[in-house]
């Protein structure tokens, strides 16, 4: 169960306490996140919504160890992410976080296979093991027959599915998705959300997603609104499907 009151029990996979993030823009100080609390359990699917500039992506970056908070703490599976050095964070990210971006961010000179294999090159897996992992996840996202295609030879929806395969190929602890359907047509967006839903319900993945799309948010177990740097839970929490 997702909580934003800071009273989650000790079983939370992700625990955020009193998270503050301030930016300096010229002489102006922008307080993006203000004392934010969050508890997410294993297998939760959380959607963050809110107006542009409300700090959704900043929160995602902090949860993914890409940015450091001004104060407060983030703990994932017992590891305090906010206390890690930059070097340690890099390794932690490789093991625990899968990122899905709005613009897919595939490497254009690599095939779908090459893109999905990238995170595995940091592991000690043999070439044959890597191949098996990549083929498995590409099959899972329905692109087994497109693995030797380059991004330019794929549709937007297919590119996003490759990006999802890249995010899950190392079997990370949780997935962070930043507007995964933001650049897709309705049909492709539905397919992507269907796929993310399957990852949650059939494979027990924990997903935290930023979205502007209410239809995408509808699929989440919980929809949280960021307003003036504070998380507010929506009226009703969606049932786990």
């Amino acid at each position: 169960m997702v909580r934003v009151d800071g009273n989650g029990n000790g079983t939370s996979l992700i625990r955020v306490r009193n998270l503050d993030k301030k930016y300096q823009r010229g002489s102006e100080e922008i307080h993006v996140l203000q004392g934010l609390n969050l508890d997410v359990e294993q297998g939760d699917f959380v959607a963050f919504m809110g107006p542009s500039g409300s700090g959704k992506t900043t929160l995602l970056n902090l949860l993914g160890g890409l940015d450091v908070p001004t104060s407060g703490s983030i703990t994932v599976a017992g590891d305090e992410v906010t206390a890690m050095s930059a070097k340690k964070l890099t390794g932690w990210r490789a093991r625990h976080v899968g990122f899905i971006f709005q613009m897919y961010n595939l490497i254009p000179v690599l095939t779908a296979f090459g893109n999905v294999e990238l995170p595995l090159l940091l592991t000690r897996l043999s070439k044959a093991q890597r191949r098996k992992h990549v083929e498995t996840v590409l099959d899972l996202v329905g692109l087994a027959d497109r693995m030797h295609h380059y991004p330019r030879q794929l549709s937007g929806g297919q590119e996003q599915r490759v990006a999802i395969a890249r995010a899950i190929v190392t079997d990370p602890t949780f997935l962070l998705a930043d507007e995964p359907t933001g650049d897709l047509d309705r049909r492709s967006a539905d397919e992507i959300m269907e796929l993310i839903g399957r990852l949650v319900h059939e494979h027990g993945k924990t997903v935290l997603m930023v979205t502007h799309d209410p239809r995408a948010a509808d699929r989440a177990h919980a929809v949280l609104h960021l307003d003036k740097g504070v998380l507010v839970e929506s009226a009703g929490e969606a049932p786990r499907r």
Binding site: N61, L66, K87, G91, I107, L110, G114, P119, L121, L122
Partner: protein, 379 residues
């Protein structure tokens, strides 16, 4: 090694730019190869000089002779093992442009003094048996299509008339750089046919010392022995003699260094700029790699490796082209031996690699220091 496919894929990203950068390296390393070959042609005597040999010339200048009687006096000096002498002839074959060095040598001692030149006993004995006999280096014989038994007319410029010689042997070098463009004939023939003034005079002496460590000391002893005589001497190790001879043609070394430095500095700027553009264009992708957990060092290595790969490819192409063309140079400039030693080829590729790494360093550092959050915002 796991990332080689990514490196090669990145190189194929902008094929024209990559080709041009590799081409810049190839041209620079081609030029490097030519400069090394030219340097070698001028300084081969220095590099190949025997550490146990001294050259004794007239103190006034190389073109002033020394008495033939000095041979016995030199042989009596402590530490001297052998002595030979030679004279410059300065003739031309058929045409003025057919220049090559001709030496009137002491038939009894010259061959033993220069064991680096390989010559058959049969050929040398034929030379000893024929007063008009001569010996030509392999490069020279090939240049004019001479074969043993040919009669070779040389028109004297210092010693008047046309001198005819019988080619009795062809010598080769035991090392690739050895100069085989020389022509030797017998000093006794020069003395017999030449003008009165040349009789009893040698152009210079070559002395072999028993202990190379004593070469400088013996050189001083030689000059001291002939001091205050009518024919004072100047004695130097063969290496120093060859170096001062090469310097008479101008400071080739300085010229080569200057050209080389300018070329490589320009290359550094060109490659540095190329890599900087490549990194700037790929900011988003590098940020994605960092997001996926690629450590800073991996990012640095990827960019540096790409720069190095371009440099090495261009470098190998360049030095191989220079190696391929150097025999042609030797034909265009007869009398010089253009040889590119394998060590210099490797050094050239190493130099290209170093330029590639230095050029890639700043872009690689900027890629390494990239802040993921900022970079992703720009995508």
């Amino acid at each position: 090694m796991k990332h080689l496919h990514l490196l090669f894929a990145n190189l194929k990203r902008k094929k024209i730019r990559t080709t041009l950068t590799i081409g810049s390296f190839a041209v620079a390393l081609f030029l490097y190869g030519l400069l090394v070959a030219i340097h070698g042609a001028f300084y081969q005597g220095v590099e190949l000089a025997g550490a146990d040999r001294l050259v004794v010339i007239n103190r006034v200048s190389l073109i002033q002779p020394l008495p033939i009687s000095y041979r016995d006096r030199l042989l009596q000096l402590d530490g001297v093992e052998a002595v030979t002498h030679a004279n410059w002839f300065g003739g031309v074959y058929q045409d003025e442009k057919n220049f090559f060095p001709q030496f009137a040598v002491d038939k009894d001692t010259y061959r033993q003094m220069f064991p680096e030149y390989a010559i058959t006993d049969e050929g040398w004995n034929a030379f000893l048996a024929d007063r008009e006999g001569c010996v030509a280096g392999a490069a020279l014989a090939e240049r004019f299509g001479w074969e043993v038994g040919d009669r070779i007319p040389i028109r004297g410029t210092i010693f008047p008339g046309t001198w005819e010689f019988n080619l009795r042997a062809i010598f080769t070098g035991t090392r690739p750089q050895d100069d085989t463009s020389q022509f030797w004939f017998r000093y006794d023939y020069l003395e017999e046919r030449g003008p009165e003034w040349v009789k009893g005079l040698a152009g210079w002496y070559t002395v072999r010392v028993a202990d190379p460590d004593r070469a400088a000391e013996i050189a001083k002893a030689v000059d001291r022995g002939f001091a205050n005589s009518a024919w004072e001497t100047k004695t130097e190790p063969e290496k120093a003699f060859a170096a001062s001879f090469a310097k008479q043609m101008g400071n080739i070394e300085f010229l080569i260094m200057t050209i080389g430095t300018v070329v490589f500095f320009t290359l550094l700027l060109v490659t540095g700029n190329t890599m900087a553009i490549a990194v700037r264009e790929r900011t988003g992708e590098l940020a994605v790699l960092k997001t996926l957990g690629y450590p800073d060092l991996s990012i640095l290595t990827l960019v540096l490796a790409e720069s190095a790969l371009i440099a090495v490819q261009g470098g190998v192409l360049g030095v191989l082209a220079a190696k391929a063309i150097s025999p042609g140079l030797a034909k265009a400039l007869p009398g010089f031996s253009f040889y590119l030693p394998p060590a210099d080829l490797v050094r050239g590729v190493g130099l290209a690699l170093a330029v590639g790494l230095v050029a890639g360093l700043l872009p690689a550092l900027s890629a390494m220091r990239l802040r993921v959050v900022d970079a992703l915002r720009r995508v």
